[in-house]
């Protein structure tokens, strides 16, 4: 674990401050995780699935509880802080204290450190500067926001490097429909009066849909007014498999991996 954090420290002073539990401490009495081995990570993964997955998702990427893969924890980033959160809970949230033995808690922390996707960013092979140019040249901003205002048809990528691994980012470029967040499913259908309906599914209940049309119009549609409809779970984004060279894909991945929250700006989910 220590090696991992030292490597991370090289990424940048600011980044290192909040990723590195040693750096994050402002006092000398630092508690070190005594169970950092690969076996401990595996044991922690089992505990996670048993104790935590119900709220934080099977892969820790979040469900009703927040994602724990960003490397940035809202209530404290040090091992010591994580130990306290796991055993004492977070008042005012559904996160309760878990009654586990100390070893199990440390193993969970080791697993969480291993699940941090953003720490892989430093291993990106491509050139992020080239990637940024490719992002503009290929019109990505028509549908995505990345730091500065862009399109809204696709996910906001401003902190995507904190939430997706290098492999996930590459897959998203080459096979965009491989994994589509339900927040980005769309509605396609026809009203009983023959009007075509299509838009991003912003909300749904038993009786109605709320959609964002590509024109930017927000509207609500009763299901009973639709002659037919389907929820499209594929991505409208084109694959860049044949459009970009492998080196360009790597540059774009490196650029996306560099898009991360700054210290102090918690990822809201």
């Amino acid at each position: 674990m220590v090696m991992v954090f030292r490597k991370l420290g090289l990424l940048g002073v600011t980044l290192g401050l909040w990723l590195d539990p040693l750096g994050a401490q402002d006092h000398s009495n630092v508690i070190r995780n005594p169970f950092p081995t690969a076996d401990d990570v595996a044991a922690g993964a089992r505990s996670f699935r048993s104790q935590c997955a119900a709220c934080h998702g099977l892969d820790a990427s979040g469900a009703s509880g927040p994602s724990l893969t960003t490397g940035n924890f809202r209530h404290g980033n040090s091992d010591e802080a994580l130990y306290g959160i796991i055993t004492k809970g977070v008042p005012g949230t559904p996160m309760v204290g878990f009654k586990l033995d100390g070893r199990e808690v440390w193993q969970l922390i080791s697993f969480l450190r291993s699940a941090n996707v953003s720490k892989g960013a430093g291993q990106a092979k491509g050139n992020p500067g080239n990637g940024a140019q490719l992002f503009q040249a290929n019109g990505c901003a028509q549908c995505h926001t990345a730091g500065k205002p862009g399109g809204f048809a696709g996910p906001d990528l401003s902190d995507i490097g904190s939430r997706r691994s290098l492999a996930q980012l590459e897959t998203a470029l080459l096979d965009p429909s491989a994994e589509v967040d339900p927040d980005y499913w769309s509605l396609r259908g026809r009203t009983k009066t023959g009007q075509a309906i299509e838009g991003l599914r912003m909300n749904e209940d038993t009786d109605s849909f709320q959609i964002l049309e590509s024109s930017g119009h927000l509207r609500s549609v009763w299901k009973t007014d639709l002659a037919n409809y389907e929820i499209v779970r594929t991505s409208p984004m084109p694959s860049f498999k044949s459009k970009l060279k492998q080196s360009e894909v790597e540059d774009l991945v490196a650029y996306l991996a560099s898009l991360r929250v700054e210290s102090g700006n918690e990822v809201p989910r």
Partner: protein
């Protein structure tokens, strides 16, 4: 109340709006109301007296005698107990709102609770006055015509409490001039229904014992006793059901839902029953003719680790049939022996007299959290039949005595077993079912979903660090998780129709003599379905999650429907044509 009587009355009151609209008030009540309440109610009661014109089916106003509770079905304008009547049909005999005009149902008033908690309450209504609980444990008397507050009783709970699943309350019971409520810190209080002042307060149990006790259900008044359940089976408590003298608040009897060690029905390894759960956190039912109280019991503890409590773990996940005078057990039936899935059997028992295999029988019908619909003989406790009403993976059938034959591979594992149906919140849960004597069907809001079942290590219970549950949300594809209102034939469990909703629900349902079934979704839809076909006839977007059950009552001679949506109690009535 005899169920046969009830059915006759129901048949005698067909879909003619006027008959029941005339269920109005006697002059004596008018005077009482006048003396106590505001001018608004004054006007209302005059209108009621005008429309009454000799059509009074029963005594009106306070006090609520035990005889009136026995015949609560004869006061369709009121809602006198949690499930409306002792047989727990939750059926409104009001028929002003029916399949032909429900489209004109509009919002009449709102009562804003301003709470972050789930609102699970069922209000009571007595002659134009509504009594509703608000989390944690407040009681509010409202003018049922306007939603304006008449008085508020605030119970002060300690800051730290130990409910497993929210600081919730499901309502009050009434007898005489008194309302009865159990509290999250394990007290029972009697409050004067006229003034909102506390009359007595009795401590049930130390709420900090074991991993923490709580009481969340609505009490049930039977004769002169207030029957009160408790919660805490996630915290290693030992379950019981209590009866308190309504006049004095003194404990009349306590039935321990886990027998003493040495009792032939003690079926727990070692002393594990001492902290084995088997709580009683929802409301039961009562058959006056058989003088029998029926109550469901919760899961054994630890919820998903059965290794430390080998055996059937009686009387967890059971129905217990008790003598309400003494608390003595008449019979029991265990739906889920040695449960490891948190499948509480705290559903409301529904008492129906119906044909079973060609012969009329006194039935106890029960859509259970474990996914099966059960039919029992409520006199003998005999198991008659069971049929799955949602997808289930754990039982291949039942033997003659109603013991399930298990399918292997459904046990929780340390890695998390994701192949078990139904999930931890069950095919049914605590949400109210409803039985309509018009269609002869039972309506229930079922949940279709699976969850992660993890076996956790055993730790002794303590409130110092109340052990986290494994409360789970669906992490599976949306099409695997949904809700459905279903109409069941009580003798067979055959599903007559289903109405699907997007999300597994937490709302109760209510059938009415207008041949409607009301309910709400977790997404905030309020609906009325045709009780015969399941077709949706009316919808309203309340835009908050529904965790309560609907009721119906008369105000000013007009039928109203109330349901808590989010933290707002919404009341609907028909618009003029």
């Amino acid at each position: 109340m005899k169920n046969s009587d009830n059915r006759l009355l129901a048949r005698a009151a067909p879909n003619r709006p006027h008959v029941l609209a005339m269920t109005c008030r006697a002059a004596t009540v008018r005077e009482r109301l006048l003396s106590v309440i505001s001018e608004q109610v004054h006007k209302l009661s005059i209108a009621m007296a005008i429309c009454a014109a000799g059509f009074s089916l029963s005594a009106q106003g306070l006090p609520i005698t035990s005889d009136r509770l026995l015949h609560a079905d004869r006061e369709p304008g009121n809602w006198l107990m949690y499930s409306n009547t002792y047989n727990s049909w939750r059926y409104s005999r009001l028929a002003q709102v029916d399949t032909s005009n429900v489209g004109r149902l509009k919002l009449k008033w709102l009562f804003q609770m301003r709470t972050q908690e789930k609102v699970e309450t069922t209000p009571l209504v007595v002659d134009g006055i509504m009594y509703v609980t608000r989390p944690d444990n407040d009681i509010i008397a409202l003018d049922a015509e306007t939603g304006r507050t008449l008085w508020t009783y605030e119970y002060r709970n300690p800051r730290r409490l130990y409910p497993c699943c929210g600081r919730v309350n499901r309502g009050v019971a009434i007898l005489g001039n008194r309302l009865f409520m159990n509290t999250l810190d394990m007290h029972v209080v009697a409050v004067d229904a006229r003034s909102g002042r506390e009359v007595w307060r009795t401590k049930m149990f130390d709420y900090t014992a074991a991993g923490g006790y709580a009481a969340t259900g609505a009490p049930l008044v039977v004769k002169d006793k207030v029957i009160v359940g408790m919660a805490g089976a996630e915290h290693g408590v030992r379950g019981f059901l209590d009866a308190y003298d309504a006049a004095t608040g003194k404990l009349a009897w306590r039935f321990n839902t886990i027998p003493k060690q040495g009792d032939p029905n003690y079926s727990w390894s070692g002393d594990s029953g001492e902290r084995g759960g088997a709580s009683t956190w929802n409301t039961g039912s009562y058959d006056p003719e058989l003088n029998t109280l029926y109550w469901g019991t919760g899961n054994p503890w630890p919820d998903t680790n059965g290794d430390v409590r080998l055996g059937d773990d009686l009387y967890s996940c059971s129905v217990i049939a008790l003598d309400p005078d003494t608390g003595k057990l008449k019979w029991h039936y265990q739906f889920t022996p040695h449960d490891v899935h948190d499948w509480d059997s705290t559903q409301v028992p529904v008492l129906v007299d119906a044909q079973f295999r060609g012969r009329p029988r006194k039935l106890l019908v029960w859509p259970n959290r474990n996914g099966f619909f059960y039919v029992l003989d409520r006199q003998s406790g005999e198991f008659l039949t069971a049929k799955a009403f949602v997808r289930q993976t754990w039982a291949k059938g039942f033997d003659d005595r109603g013991r399930p034959e298990l399918i292997p591979g459904n046990e929780p594992t340390t890695e998390g077993n994701i192949d078990v149906w139904p999930g931890v919140d069950g095919g049914a849960n605590w949400m109210a079912h409803s039985y309509s004597p018009l269609t002869g069907w039972l309506y229930t809001f079922a949940r279709e979903e699976r969850r992660v079942y993890s076996k956790t290590e055993y730790h002794p219970p303590t409130t110092e660090e109340t052990v986290a549950g494994f409360r789970a949300r669906p992490v599976f594809a949306p099409e695997e998780s949904f809700g459905k209102v279903i109409a069941l034939e009580p003798g067979t469990g055959e599903i007559k129709w289903e109405h699907r909703v997007l999300t597994p629900p937490w709302s109760g349902v209510m059938a009415t003599a207008g041949n409607l079934v009301f309910g709400g979704t977790l997404e905030g839809n309020v609906f009325a379905l045709d009780a015969r076909s399941g077709k949706q006839l009316w919808r309203f977007l309340g835009n908050g999650p529904v965790f309560a059950g609907p009721i119906s009552f008369l105000s000013n001679g007009k039928q109203y429907v109330s349901l808590a949506v989010g933290d707002v109690l919404m009341t609907f009535s028909l618009n003029a044509e």
